[in-house]
């Protein structure tokens, strides 16, 4: 039987869209049960009106991630307290896809494009965090522009950055340039400062979303839990 730790570990690879933090760390996973080879995951969000496509993406990713854990044959994911909980839960658990879940309400390709946008943003923001730390340690922008991955001192920020970089399918070999755009093109030396300036905007925006969502989630559920305790 798969362990809770193994499933939680896998679920920590699912990130809140546009928040760039694991759903496990954000408090979005409210329950996890395992019976034989079946996993039950209960998810919750800061509001009942969070973007349905973002919510769908998270539920779908949670399901495919849970199914990827060795020994798991079935995964049932339930999103609580969302205006589209019914459609999303039904659609994800029967593999309808986003289009099939909301027929005639969506246009364009499935959610892969959206997922890709979040991956690119996450990569840009993580790169900014890393470069910011390197600049604080005395690196100049032109040194950054010339730097190769093999020359970056090890750090948690660097590890995270490499993860995101690999996720986009970009070169992560030691000879590859550090400062590249989300398509893997080296940022020229005279554009590095502007690149980082824009990257900072992306990071500030992601951090703001995450901070705001945490606050609203706490207001929604901590209060409910207090009220529940008070009536017991």
């Amino acid at each position: 039987m798969p362990t809770k730790a193994a499933v939680l570990g896998a679920l920590s690879g699912v990130r809140g869209p546009e928040l760039d933090e694991p759903i496990t760390a954000l408090g979005f996973v409210s329950e996890l049960k395992i019976e034989d080879d079946t996993v039950f995951v209960r998810l919750r969000l800061p509001t009942y009106f969070c973007a349905p496509n973002f919510a769908y993406l998270m539920v779908a990713d949670a399901r495919s991630t849970a199914l990827s854990v060795p020994g798991v044959r079935e995964a049932r994911i339930v999103l609580d307290g969302h205006h589209a909980s019914g459609e999303i839960n039904g659609g994800v658990n029967s593999g309808l896809g986003f289009e099939g879940t909301f027929p005639s309400e969506t246009e364009g390709p499935d959610l892969d494009e959206l997922r890709d946008i979040f991956s690119r943003k996450s990569f840009i923001a993580r790169g900014e965090k890393l470069c910011r730390a390197l600049l604080a340690e005395g690196c100049t922008p032109s040194e950054l522009a010339q730097m190769r991955l093999g020359e970056v001192p090890p750090s948690g920020a660097f590890e995270k950055y490499l993860e995101r970089r690999a996720e986009l399918g970009l070169d992560v070999s030691t000879e590859a340039s550090l400062v590249v755009d989300p398509d893997g093109n080296k940022v020229p030396e005279d554009a590095v400062v502007e690149h980082l300036r824009f990257a900072r905007l992306t990071r500030v925006s992601i951090e703001g979303n995450a901070g705001f969502c945490r606050g609203v989630l706490a207001a929604r559920y901590d209060k409910q839990e207090e009220e529940k305790e008070a009536t017991l």
Partner: protein, 120 residues
């Protein structure tokens, strides 16, 4: 998007509460808005009723970007505050009449062409 489109504005109605919980983070937000959009494309309104707005307005009038961050982001002037909080930008956008006793904003220095461009 806001950088490329001249008719896109930043609304502080939600982000402004960081001023209370994480003032240094709020300084980054307002600093980024000022850099990328200029002070004439930032708005504040109470928005969806998440918070009672009175304290937000009062606290913003007293808010300043911390000194050690001003090298990066500059400082907030009374003119910026009047534009953002007291609604002069909004009045301009919606063509509302501003009472004559309210100081008029000084002209914004940068023209549309001078806005920084997003690299992608």
């Amino acid at each position: 998007m806001a950088v490329q489109e001249a008719n896109v504005y930043a609304g502080l109605s939600v982000a402004i509460a960081f001023m209370h919980t994480r003032p240094r983070y709020f300084a980054q937000i307002i600093g980024e808005c000022l850099y990328w959009l200029d002070e004439d494309r930032i708005l504040f309104a109470s928005d969806y009723a998440l918070w009672q707005p009175k304290w937000l307005v009062e606290q913003f009038v007293d808010f300043q970007i911390p000194e050690d961050m001003q090298g990066e982001y500059g400082a907030l002037t009374p003119d910026i505050k009047r534009r953002v909080v007291l609604g002069l930008n909004t009045a301009h956008l919606y063509d509302l009449e501003v009472p004559s006793e309210i100081p008029q904003p000084t002209a914004v220095s940068a023209s549309e062409e001078e806005y920084p461009e997003a690299p992608y």
